[in-house]
């Protein structure tokens, strides 16, 4: 059971959260071509490694959160309120627990 350290509530079981998808997609209505729009809708980086994503603390504070997680180990490196800058100290290297 993944533990997610909610910045509002503290560490909570992942079953309290809903995964809200990869971060970094921009919803560009004005200039997107149909192909770009479908790419926005359907394509994902889906990497094996560190990924920035959103979680929704649905059974807690009901806030959207931003995080970085390793999809191979499920290690969550940081969690911040949605829209907050990511901690600057992180790099793409493995961190030890």
């Amino acid at each position: 059971m993944l533990l997610i350290d909610c910045p509002y509530c503290g560490p909570r079981n992942s079953t309290e959260f809903r995964h809200a998808g990869e971060a970094g997609k921009s919803r560009d209505l004005a200039s997107a071509t149909p192909a770009q729009w479908r790419r926005y809708l359907y394509e994902y980086d889906n990497p094996l490694g560190w990924v920035r994503e959103s979680w929704f603390h649905s059974a807690g504070c009901r806030r959207y959160l931003s995080s970085e997680r390793h999809t191979g180990t499920n290690e969550v490196r940081w969690v911040v309120p949605f829209g907050t800058a990511a901690p600057s100290s992180t790099t793409d290297e493995e961190t030890s627990r």
């Binding site: 192909a35 479908r38 809708l41 980086d45 889906n46 191979g72």
Partner: protein, 432 residues
């Protein structure tokens, strides 16, 4: 492609007839103490192949087999980073059925069932296909409506499939609690007699053995590190055991489909989720059919050895981790006991996970990509094993003829950019 095969067809290859498997041969070898020959060979990795298949699961192995047997294309390497059948093909719950929702889905999976039905004979390897019947339970009127929808589509396509009432469900599987006062009453079920279970390892090994003896090379412990292209065409593959030049690469991976496609910058509409499964200790056989409950997100069948094999829906967030979770087994057990309350003392023996590449429309992605010579047979979600034979057969046909067969035309990658999604999601998302 067929042309290439002709030019290399005459070269001397390590191949030959496979040892015959039958009761007679078992007795003969037992009496004479003669050893069975190798079913699979180890090869040096050569520097060039006509076709390189990435992934020695059922899709890759079936594709290799049908390339060889249907089209005479045998200068083929199947590359596997671990051992053959070690990914989704060895981790699934081995349920076979064709009672899908869309006409294109039904046609496709029906072909798969037909191939499975004669696979033991075709491969001379008993894949132990047990067509014991498949029941998809409906617990509310919305799912009953979807079952009716599927049954009607199935019947018109000639599939043996119908909706039966709770009493009939109870007659087929007396252990199911079909009383009306349960939390999730069983209102009826979609009954699909040809559905059943199979020995997944046997399917993988049977294809591998047959393909090997037709001249295909299976390279285990050989990881693909990169795919070379020039001018938008595939030119070669870099592996952990050396480089290969080839003009044709087929991505037949599950769980790693995005990673492999990334090597040629083909972005895929995929999200990888673990799918967990579990097995109990054996008890004497009491469950004749395969039981699926969409509302409770569980399925169960009993092997001939007596173990109950359970599966559920994919994990709630994307991951490549195959460690499994405790909450999965908790939810699974709770839901199974809702259906079969008398088996609470049976013990869970082992749990495991595989990886599923989920697509937006619950249908696979098969065929050509913007990179010439890079084909995909990916995005199988939770139902890849069911489609192994037909996917292999159709992909082989595409490779050999250069034309996308009708049976898989609906599953092309371009449908996402064009907004032509396949309707299987209709079944998956209707109801509660």
């Amino acid at each position: 492609m067929a042309q290439t095969a002709t030019t290399t067809g005459g070269r001397a290859r390590t191949r030959g007839r496979a040892a015959r498997y039958s009761a007679f041969d078992i007795v003969r070898r037992g009496v004479t103490h003669s050893e069975w020959p190798r079913s699979f060979n180890e090869h040096e990795l050569r520097t060039t192949y006509d076709v390189v298949i990435v992934g020695a699961g059922v899709h890759g192995l079936a594709c290799a087999y049908y390339l060889a047997v249907n089209h005479g294309i045998t200068n083929v390497a199947v590359l596997e980073k671990s051992y053959m059948g070690g990914g989704g093909s060895g981790r699934n719950t081995a349920i076979i059925r064709s009672n899908y929702l869309t006409p294109e889905g039904v046609r496709f999976y029906d072909r798969s069932v037909k191939l499975y039905e004669k696979l033991s004979v075709d491969l001379n390897y008993n894949v132990m296909f047990s067509q014991r019947g498949h029941l998809t339970l409906a617990h509310n009127d919305a799912s009953l409506r979807t079952m009716n929808w599927r049954a009607e589509v199935n019947k018109l396509q000639g599939i043996d499939s119908s909706v039966i009432d709770a009493k009939e469900v109870g007659r087929i599987v007396p252990y199911l609690d079909v009383s009306a006062d349960t939390r999730y009453p069983i209102l009826g079920a979609l009954y699909h007699p040809p559905g059943g279970i199979i020995r997944h390892d046997a399917v993988n090994w049977g294809y591998a053995r047959a393909a090997t003896h037709l001249g295909v090379e299976i390279h285990q412990q050989t990881e693909v590190l990169g795919i070379e292209t020039a001018g938008g065409k595939v030119t070669g593959v870099r592996t952990s055991r050396g480089n290969i030049s080839t003009s044709m690469v087929i991505n037949c991976t599950a769980g790693w489909a995005s990673t492999i496609s990334d090597m040629v910058d083909v972005k895929m509409p995929l999200v990888t989720h673990p799918l967990q499964a579990a097995v109990t200790e054996p008890v004497k056989v009491f469950l004749s059919a395969v039981i699926v409950s969409g509302s409770l997100h569980v399925y169960v069948s009993q092997t001939d050895r007596g173990e109950l094999v359970f599966g559920a829906s994919v994990d709630p967030y994307p991951s490549y981790s195959m460690r499994g979770s405790l909450e999965f087994t908790e939810g699974l057990a709770a839901h199974i006991l809702e259906l079969i309350p008398s088996i609470s003392s049976l013990k869970l023996l082992r749990q495991w996970a595989g990886l599923c590449d989920m697509t937006p429309d619950y249908s696979p992605i098969m065929g050509v990509t913007p990179v010439e010579g890079f084909l995909v047979d990916v995005g199988w979600g939770t139902y890849g094993f069911k489609a192994g034979p037909v996917a292999g057969e159709q992909m082989a046909q595409l490779i050999a003829t250069g034309r996308t067969p009708d049976l898989i035309a609906a599953f092309d990658l371009a449908r996402f950019a064009d907004g032509r999604l396949v309707g299987e999601k209709g079944a998956a998302s209707v109801g509660h």
